[in-house]
């Protein structure tokens, strides 16, 4: 897992203005069903898949991409843009 300290160094390096979060105990990943086990050399290790999830202001999931399709953020960005337009007064 990337620790908050590692994330802080990365955020500073590329001047990120949004939070970089660390799920050190993998609790959130388990709750979201993203964490899965992989068997390697008779041991099971757990890590997550790439995913983009868009959640609207009401806390409702509006968009999910997983795996290879989540590498490109543009679709999720479009969903955000549409949500923003709908919410604009």
């Amino acid at each position: 897992m990337d620790s908050p300290a590692a994330n802080a160094a990365f955020a500073k390096q590329i001047d990120i203005k949004f939070p970089l979060l660390s799920d050190m105990n993998k609790k959130m990943l388990k709750e979201y069903g993203i964490l899965k086990g992989y068997d390697v050399q008779n041991e099971t290790y757990q890590w997550a898949q790439r995913a983009n999830i868009v959640i609207d202001k009401n806390g409702i999931v509006q968009h999910i991409e997983e795996g290879d399709s989540a590498v490109d953020p543009n679709t999720a960005m479009s969903v955000c843009t549409d949500l923003h337009k709908k919410g604009a007064k």
């Binding site: 897992m1 990337d2 908050p4 590692a6 994330n7 802080a8 990365f10 990120i16 949004f18 939070p19 970089l20 979060l21 660390s22 799920d23 050190m24 993998k26 609790k27 959130m28 990943l29 709750e31 979201y32 069903g33 993203i34 964490l35 899965k36 086990g37 992989y38 068997d39 390697v40 050399q41 290790y45 890590w47 997550a48 898949q49 790439r50 995913a51 983009n52 999830i53 868009v54 959640i55 609207d56 202001k57 009401n58 806390g59 409702i60 999931v61 509006q62 968009h63 999910i64 997983e66 795996g67 989540a70 953020p73 999720a76 960005m77 955000c80 843009t81 949500l83 923003h84 919410g87």
Partner: protein, 76 residues
């Protein structure tokens, strides 16, 4: 001043090692049980500023783009 489009939340999920693919038996691709239209489970996670960030902090304020990255910033 231009308003932020959404709250970007960048969740790095990395492990300290990278297993050779040839030695990796993938049980199955991780697949979230969440569906569009579901209420997103609330979570509290530590940010790079060592502060708790809760999903519910954004409720009623901003849309959230949750990007989950694996093996993003470590050398592993």
């Amino acid at each position: 001043m231009k308003r932020l489009l959404a709250a970007f939340v960048f969740l790095s999920v990395t492990t300290a090692f990278a297993a050779p693919i040839s030695q990796t038996q993938k049980q199955e691709l991780a697949k979230t049980s969440l569906k569009v239209g579901d209420t997103a489970p609330d979570f509290t996670l530590l940010s790079d500023q060592w502060k708790n960030v809760k999903l519910s902090d954004f409720k009623g304020k901003k849309n959230v783009f949750l990007a989950i990255y694996v093996l993003a910033f470590t050398g592993g």
